[in-house]
C-alpha cells in the first residue's frame, strides 16, 4: 500500500514535505532503542514521542513515515529536522491503540 492512500484513509495531518512511498508494515513503540533494533525499512512508525531525536532513529533505518498519535504537540524543531532528513511526519488525534486498529483494518499491519 502507498503512503498517500493511508494518509487519506486515516485522515492524517501532513506536517512535513511528503514523498509517496510503498509501506512495508507498521511498527508501534515509544522507545527509540526498540526502533533502532527491530523496526523495518519502509515501516510506518506510530509513537507519542515528539522530541527531535525520533528523526535520528527513523532516518537510521529508513522509516517511511512517523505518525505522532494522541494529538501530541510537535515542536517546530522536530518538523525542521524531519524536513532536513526527508523523514515524513504525520499527526493524528487518535490514540496509538486506535491508530493500530485502523491500520490493521485497512490491511497493512
Amino acid at each position: 500500500m502507498k503512503l498517500n492512500e493511508i494518509i487519506e484513509k486515516l485522515s492524517l495531518k501532513v506536517l512535513t514535505n511528503l514523498e509517496d512511498k510503498d509501506i512495508t508494515g507498521v511498527y508501534i513503540s515509544d522507545m527509540l532503542s526498540d526502533v533502532m533494533s527491530k523496526a523495518g525499512a519502509g515501516n510506518i512508525w506510530v509513537t507519542i514521542q515528539s522530541h527531535k531525536n525520533i528523526i535520528a532513529a527513523a532516518n537510521l533505518i529508513d522509516i517511511a513515515a512517523i505518525i505522532i498519535s494522541q494529538g501530541t504537540d510537535i515542536p517546530e524543531e522536530t518538523i525542521e529536522l524531519a524536513n532536513r532528513y526527508n523523514v515524513v511526519l504525520l499527526g493524528s488525534d487518535d490514540s496509538t491503540f486506535v491508530l493500530g486498529g485502523k491500520l490493521y483494518q485497512i490491511g497493512i499491519a
Partner: protein
Amino acid sequence: MQTQKCKHQWEMVNTNPGFILTEACHKCSQVSTYFSREDNPPFEEYRDGEHFWNVMASAQSVRFDLKCKLCNTLVTFDELSSLLLCTGCKKDCDVYRLMEKYSGKRIWFYVAFGFKPYADKLMLSDEKIKILEDYYNQRRDSTNSSIKIVSFEMIDDPDSCAGEFIIDSSMLLLAPPEKK
C-alpha cells in the same frame, strides 16, 4: 574474525534491553558512563578507589551483537554507547567537513560514541564501525540514500556536539541532561 570471501549479511542478535547510566565523581568531577542490565541503579553515592560516584542520569538503551547469516561470524558491540545523527552543529568539525564532501548524495552521517571516560575505556575499532554501517545499510532500502557511520574520535570536543543521540533519555531521567 573475517572470512575474506563472505559477503556478510548481518543480523542483530543477543539484543538485551538495559540502561546507560551516567555517573559523576564529586571529588574529581570525572564522568563515567556504562551499560547496566539492572533497572535499579545505585542511587546512593558509592566509593570506587579514589572516586565517589553519584548517578546523574539513566537512559533506556539496548545492547546487541551482529552475526553474519552466511558464515556465522559474530561481532560484539560492547564498546558502543550510542549512535548520534550528525546535524552539522559546528562548521569546523571534521565530521561536518566529511559530510559536506558527500553533500547532495543523500548520505546521512551518524557518529558512534563510546563510554566515558573515553581515555580509559575500549573504543569501537574502525572495522566494527564499518560492520555496523554495513548492517544498517543492508537493513535500509538503500536505493536512494545510505548512511555512513564514523567514530566520535573525529570530533574535537565530543561533549559539546549538539547532534541527536538515539537514546531514550526522556523515559527515566534522574537529573537534568548535561548541557549541550
